[in-house]
């Protein structure tokens, strides 16, 4: 029963990705030149470092925004929690393109931001669209539901009686949170951060539509190499490095937590 799935995935997933790995060392000639170029040209090393920096910021922002939301969803058992969960679910299922488009409208020259600036008599707003900031903002908005759901999955299983026990022993609510709830929620924090960070490393749509070519992320570079230059070998080499980084991160996670829990 398992065999068809394995064969299907080997033939139609492992083969295409493997083909790409081969291209990275055979196009345009059999050599490691693509990789040498990627690791020695300052522009490209900058792109890689920039991708890490942006992903790091996005992950932290998602954690800071997502934690209180997941906390309230997990601790309450009423209509408020249901409404918040519905809000997270709806934004989770709204496509990346639709949400990216929404930010284009909001931050655009004739958008609500400009209207607000005009209304407040502040003149023209600063150029936000097509900067690293706008693409970071868009990615935080898009990846936040992943973070919240990862946190919520763990927080929901924390027994409320533990907190009540701490409080009945004299702990103030915040102390009970800090010494009981927070440590128990850490696995969710790790899951959410790994999930958001790895998705962000290879994020394609939002950096291309909201970001700037002057401060590229890895996926923008891949897009540029394929779309403008048809540099198959080099694009494949970049994608291979992206894949390798992602696999290393997930392997480390797997070593400590077990990969199954990431999506559980």
């Amino acid at each position: 029963m398992v065999a068809p799935a394995i064969l299907y995935l080997l033939a139609l997933f492992v083969v295409p990705v493997g083909h790409m790995l081969v291209l990275s060392v055979t196009e345009p000639a059999v050599s490691l030149a693509n990789y040498r170029r990627l690791f020695t040209v300052p522009l490209y090393t900058h792109v890689m470092l920039n991708t890490f920096a942006v992903s790091f910021v996005v992950t932290l922002a998602c954690l800071a925004l997502g934690y209180p939301l997941a906390y309230v969803m997990a601790r309450r058992n009423d209509w408020v929690a249901a409404v918040l969960l519905a809000a997270v679910g709806l934004s989770f299922w709204t496509g990346f393109i639709v949400r990216t488009y929404a930010w284009l409208v909001i931050l655009g020259q004739k958008g609500p931001l400009s209207a607000f600036y005009a209304f407040a008599g502040l003149g023209r707003p600063p150029q936000i669209l097509f900067t690293t900031f706008s693409s970071t903002l868009g990615m935080v908005h898009i990846l936040l539901p992943y973070m919240v759901l990862a946190l919520y999955a763990v927080m929901r299983k924390i027994e409320p009686s533990y907190l009540r026990a701490a409080e009945s022993l004299g702990a103030r609510p915040f102390a009970a949170f800090r010494h009981v709830f927070l440590p128990l929620s850490l696995p969710g924090v790790v899951n959410g951060c790994v999930l958001v960070f790895t998705i962000c490393l290879g994020f394609y749509i939002t950096p291309i539509l909201l970001g700037t070519p002057r401060n590229m992320m890895i996926s923008q570079l891949i897009n540029q190499q394929i779309e403008d230059l048809l540099a198959w070998g080099f694009a494949s080499a970049i994608a291979t490095v992206l894949l390798a980084i992602t696999l290393v991160l997930l392997a480390i996670y797997n070593r400590f937590a077990g990969l199954d829990r990431l999506w559980g």
């Binding site: 799935a5 394995i6 990705v17 209180p68 939301l69 496509g95």
Partner: protein
Amino acid sequence: MPRHFPLVMAVIVAIFLLAPIAIIVPMSFSTAISFEFPPPGYWLGYYARYFHSAAWLNATANSFAIAFGSMNLTMLVAVPAAFGYVRYRFRGKSAMNLIVMLPLIVPGVVSALGYYGLFARMHLVGTHFGMIVAHSVLSIPVVFLVIAASLKGFDRNLERAAYSAGAGPLRTFLWVTLPVLRPGILVGALFAFLHSFNEAVVAIFIAGRDAVTLPKKMFESIRLESDPVLAVVSTLLTGAMLAGVLVSVFIRQRAARAT
């Protein structure tokens, strides 16, 4: 720390999540010719334009056809795999699990480039077939997880009862196992459909001109012309997603009540 601090924060974050999506709805009724908010006036003109645009309707039809095809293919592969995985012991089980999860592990842009390279060689770029295959592969992990979860919660005593009452394996499967698992299978199928319907990265690389889907058409439209019909399409898509999610919640609740 004030007592209501977490709640206030949570509400603000929820508004941050929803407000940008909500803004799209009034935009779709706007008379503005480019992205403008608040709208200078309201009409239904861009809805009419969407419903008269061969390009947008074609992309919509492609999206439905590809999502439907890939959903069926995914279910055909993922449901037996989940059964085998949950119910039997075999060598290489964890390796099998890893292979099934691979499409979720590999970054989307990497998969997309892989498909683009191989499909370009096989003349499958810009075909429905290529899109259906790629989308079905990418939605296998999620469907596998959903079905495996519902299988793990299945009480096998129900099957034993059927056997002891004289039912054969096929009858037991059709009359006992399948009805109990139906909600999980329906939710899995819905996820597969929505996944394909929303998928943009692989589509941008391999859909070409003939198999263009809504997300790819939107991506191109945003980059090239900023067509105001975009707001209409976004509103319709969000509405469709909302309907889909409500259906899945409904299926789950009915299942929860039944057991």
